[in-house]
Structures are given as C-alpha cells and as structure tokens.
Symmetry: C2
Subunit: 296 residues, 2 copies
C-alpha cells in the first residue's frame, strides 16, 4: 500500500517544492508522478498536499507521511550501504567471552547458526568462569563479551540483546515455594547454589541481597544441570535467568519465584570496541543473537 517509492516522492517533493522538479529528480515524467500521487491519495483516501502553491503545501496527512519518510529513508539507505559492505568482506575470527554461564543455553545454537556463514569464530568459554573479560576486550585480546554490566562506555559499545528476569528456584516443597515473591530477608539463612563466581560478581548478591544480612552458605558447582538437581532435592536454592528455568518448572521439578515484588530485571549486552560496531561480521553475530532471543 504505502511503498518506499511513495516516501521518496514525498521527501523529494518537500525538497524541490513542485511536481515537475520532483519528476526530474526521480527520472520520471511529470505525468507518471501525477498518476502515482493520485493513486496513493485514493488508496489512503485523503489529500496529501495542495498543488497550486509554491512550494506545494502539505496537508496534515501529507506531513505525517513526510515525517515517516524522513525517519525511514535514511535507514533504508544505511541498510543498502551495509549490504554492499557485507559482501566482499574477508572472513574474520571472533574471540568471544561469556560472563553469564547460563547464556550457553542459547549461545551454542546461536554460534552454530552463525558458523554457517563465518566458520572461524572461536568461543573462549574456558576463561569465562572467574575473571573480568572487559580489560581483555580493551586490550584487543578479545573481540566480544556477553555481559549484563556496562563498563567503560566511552571506549566500548554495549549492544542490547534482550532483558531477562532473574528468578529464585526452590524445591516444590520448600518453605518459600508458595510465596508470591521473596525478599532479601527470606534468603538470610538459605544455602545458595551457584556457578563458581565470586560472590561480589553474582547478580543475586550485587543487585538483590546487596547490603542485607546473609548468614547462609554459598555452594558452587560448575555444571548447570547439577544446580537443578541439587535444588530439586532440596539441598539449596539458586538464582537463574527465567529462560533456563521455564522448562524445568513446567516439568514440576522445581518452583520459581520472583526476586522482590517487581522481579529482578537484568539486561544482556554484547560488548565490543566502539570502532567495530558497524563491521558486517559483528553486526551479523549481533543480529543472530537478537533473532535467536526475540521471544525472551
């Protein structure tokens, strides 16, 4: 119905101020343009501009369309430009580090898909466990880091992938299992099971328990599955992203509870050096991540 062609016409009309000039700009006859606009006006069932003035005067409706054109056309041009760049692009290598262990759940299929086009990506998930990857990114020893925390925003670009909720999981017969949500106080004496990450870098401590008192114990395991098994057996509680929790909860193995009345929402970013943000290979990886997580 509305097509980009029409947006170009409107935008050019604004620039040139008349149909004849617009026709020349667009390499059309004046007649063709006249027909095109009449058709569009008929389809939209409104007049877009008054012809008998210099420059033509846009109606409110014409101005809405003009506004759309001015928003959309630059984006279209940018995409065309990227399309050109994305061809004849030397195959590159991507060194990726992951701060959130639970991310492997969606990351591995994503990488597999990405690898169909760029086979040389290398995922450095060994080092991810207990170090801060951002300095390596700044030093050029890494290309990409998956993280929830923005640091060094001057030199790094943090592309937003999606938001998730961190949920507390407990055994179905756990005393907390039927609460609408938990408070920091509720966790005071619990055993919290987690991946082997220092406490100060765990979201549940950093963003939920914070300075509240915690007298319980911390137990670390390096297998994600094991966390569910331990929690299900009542050996402790854990905080995990919602996307990991859902399938296990559906099976009735565990129960998930929001952290706080509003839930604990966290973002997920793909961090890279600022100068890389327009690189086609990086963009493709970013898009693959986004598309694979669009339903989260």
């Amino acid at each position: 119905m509305i097509e980009i062609k029409h947006l170009k016409t409107i935008a050019t009309l604004k620039e040139t101020g008349s149909l004849v000039n617009t026709a020349r700009e667009l390499f059309l006859t004046q007649s063709a343009l006249s027909h095109q606009i009449k058709d569009l006006e008929n389809k939209l069932d409104c007049q877009l501009f008054e012809r008998k003035t210099h420059p033509v005067r846009f109606t409110p409706q014409g101005m809405l369309l003009l506004e759309l054109a001015q928003e959309v056309l630059p984006k279209v041009e940018a995409t065309k430009c990227r399309l050109k760049e994305s061809l004849n692009q030397p195959i590159s290598q991507l060194r990726l580090s992951v701060e959130c262990h639970a991310c492997f759940h969606w990351l591995l299929p994503t990488i597999k898909e990405f690898n169909n086009f760029w086979p040389d990506i290398h995922v450095d998930y060994e080092r991810g466990f207990s170090y801060d990857a951002i300095p390596e990114l700044l030093d050029g020893d890494l290309d990409l880091v998956l993280t929830s925390d923005i640091r060094e925003p001057d030199r790094l670009e943090f592309a937003h992938l999606f938001d998730f909720k961190l949920k507390l999981i407990v055994a179905p017969d756990h005393p907390l299992a039927n609460k609408a949500y938990v408070t920091a106080l509720d966790l005071k004496d619990e055993t919290i099971i987690s991946y082997p990450i220092p406490r100060e870098r765990q979201d549940i401590f950093k963003h939920f328990i914070q300075n509240a008192r915690f007298d319980g114990t911390l137990k670390t395991v390096d297998q994600g599955l094991l966390i569910f098994q331990l929690v299900s057996a009542g050996m402790g509680v854990a905080a995990l992203p919602d996307w990991l929790v859902t399938p296990y909860e559906a099976q009735g193995l565990i129960k998930s509870i929001p952290l706080g009345a509003l839930g604990l929402n966290r973002p997920m970013y793909l961090a890279m050096k600022k100068e890389m943000k327009d690189n086609p290979v990086y963009r493709h990886f970013l898009n693959t991540c986004k598309q694979n997580n669009s339903r989260k």
Copy 2:
C-alpha cells in the same frame, strides 16, 4: 528498489519460517513469492536466506534486511494509524504561548501555514513577555508552549524542534567585533540590550555569564527591530538566535560573535501535556514547526 512489500515478506518469513506459509499470510501464491524474492536477490546481488532448512536460515544480508524490516514496519503501521485518526477529527483550538521573543520571526509564517487546515488556533503572544507559561500549561489554561527549558518532564512532553546558536551581536566597529569568540569576562562592562524579561530568565545570563561578574547595564526594549538599530549604532550589545542575526549581518549592519569557544547551543522545544502528544492536531502543528525550521 527495496520496497516495503519486500520488508513485509522478510518479516513474515521470519515469523512463519517457510515460503508457503508466508505466501498464505500475504495472500499470494507460492510462485509469486518465489519470483518476488528471486528478483529482489538479483537486484541486491546477494542471497537473503537458505531455503532448504526449517525454519529458513537467513544469511548475513538477509538478517540486515530483517533488521531494517523490524525497525521500519512498526513505523509505517503507526503512520497509517495516525492517517486514519487525522481524518474525522473535530476542529480544535490551540492556545500557544511563547517564551522566546525571537521565535515570532519563524512562528508567524508557521502559524499562517497551519491555519490553512485548522483556522481556530489562537496565539497568546501578549502574555509571553514576563511570566512562566508552564504552570498555565499544567493547569490546562494553555495547550502549547515554545521554550528552551525542560521542566516537569513527568507530566509534560517536550518535543524537540531544532537547535540554534545564541550569538552576541555588536556594532561592526565595536572593540569585540573582531574576536573569534567572547568570554563572560569580555561582557563585564557592556550594555546588554534585550527584550523585557527578568535577567534570571535570559539565556545569556542563565547559560553564559552565570556567576561571572557583571558590572554593565541592562537595557530593555520591546521591539526586535529596535535591538538591531541600537546595537548597530553602538549603544550596546545583544544576544540573539543565529537565525535572526544572519540577514542583518549579511547587510553589514552588525557583527555576530560566538558566545564562548564552542558557541552557546540551545534547543527549542514545543511543550504540551503528555496525553496530547499523539493528538493529530498537535502532531500537525509540531510537524509544521519542524518542517519550517529544518534548515536551521
């Protein structure tokens, strides 16, 4: 070349995962779609997705297009929706107040243009001289306020119209006339001519002289033309927006100098109640302002 039709195809393809399903969604035959995509791929000279998988797998190029589609299509739909609303709209009245006197220069033609479609706008420029219009906006005694300062952002929408530079104007033979820029100190003993607005609400004091010492005098006049005549005659200096200054400077009547090394940049906003920001009449007024100032 790229058309919205194509973006719809790509977006639907992402949703449905196959050509046949996409064809059904778009009320086309499978054949038509196949042809359409082949043509597009030929024109763009690249493959957009691999067909032999479920769901179809997008190439980097396909994903760029998908990204574009996801940005653009919602905007197009929003505009279609606004177009419908903007028809069968009861004619309304707009009460407008102006905090910046120099704005009348472009505002009056803008209103004239706007009036072609909504004749009942009433411009309250009498009251604009020395009072703060925002409380009246909040109370519902006004509909729109032109201002450079954001206040009450929770209840009000500040639509950005354009940015301008505030320039100091002096007589061509004034001691400051040949400086690359002026400092607050340069103005210490000058006579500053302005519209009759309290000092604390004038941009040059609020954003430039600030707490610096000022021992000069303030002279107010209520006619814009008079300011130029007084400055040109060497009776004082004034700070005015660049768009007002340019024609007079071209005639050689005055000289304009940036305020500070970087110039003093100020935004111009159209303030309205949050709930009015999608109203077609308001949008049309906003667009008329923007379009009339796009070259500033």
